[in-house]
Symmetry: D2
Subunit: 101 residues, 4 copies
């Protein structure tokens, strides 16, 4: 089962600067060869369910190992069986429908 | 790694009545003995990461098998290493701090 | 426009104990007479769009005023025009479909 | 109060193709001059709280007016008082911390 995911990680108890932790997660995604795209409020991920969810689990585990006591994260999941659709397809589909002069 | 999760499933392409699908997920949670509490906008789940995430995956798979072509879901995740905390603990902790006359 | 909302607030830069802040939000909801139900991973809110969103805004503002430098929150929104539905209706609808022996 | 938001809209009861509705929302954001960036699983928005939330409300209202009976949406909110930060700042901050060869 393929999945498109938007993942946001929020480490708690470590101050207000979260970008070092987001960067650690991206290194996991790269190491595991998960297709990922960073945006301003999270990271889009694309792949097989187990691969993507496994990477997210490693991200929680690794960040705890660096001494972070509590983590909140938000995983927005999309699965579909009617057709294959990539992250790029979704963006193109919206853009094609914008009534721009 | 223990996890507290708030899970919301939104089947698409099947009209506006979603409760039959939420009920199917709850049957999976019960079968797998995942501690779960239904609320008005989702289901709280408590357990080991792999157990809870495995149940959520089965939920997506089962609902697709019933003919639903597309599913969106939202998984709010909480993990912590500083102490053990149940769903009940979290609710009691807030209630103890309400300044009620 | 009526709205059913699941609201989760995550203050950052204040350590790992978040329940005092959740309690402050609940006092706002009570003061503004917003129907609210606390659960383990957030608070369900019910009312007119402007009333509920106004209370959420006051919650962000008040928590910043107590010295919290950064806040993340998650607002899951439901609106419908086909029929009126309360938070209780949603829970009853799922429970009625559970195949319990 | 400035806000950075990630907004995802999920119209229900209208089949599996959601991009026309996302496009309608983007037209509202452009009309109202809200800074917005589309990504594969939502739209990032930046501006004053009331401006951004007002645009999201109009988005729900407009989509209902086109005949959509039920809408779910997810609003991830970020506010901070310690410093000003744009969407671009957040992305640059993560990228600067990636240990890329």
């Amino acid at each position: 089962m393929k999945v498109l995911i938007d993942f946001t990680i929020i480490p708690l108890g470590v101050g207000v600067s979260l970008s070092p932790y987001v960067a650690r997660c991206h290194e996991i995604f790269e190491k595991r060869k998960i297709t990922s795209t960073l945006h301003a409020n999270g990271t889009n991920l694309e792949g097989e369910w187990d691969d993507v969810m496994g990477a997210i689990k490693e991200c929680h585990e690794l960040i705890h190992q660096t001494g972070v006591p509590r983590i909140a994260s938000i995983i927005k999941v999309g699965t579909r069986t009617d057709r294959s659709q990539t992250m790029d397809d979704k963006i193109k589909s919206v853009n094609s429908k914008l009534h721009r002069a």
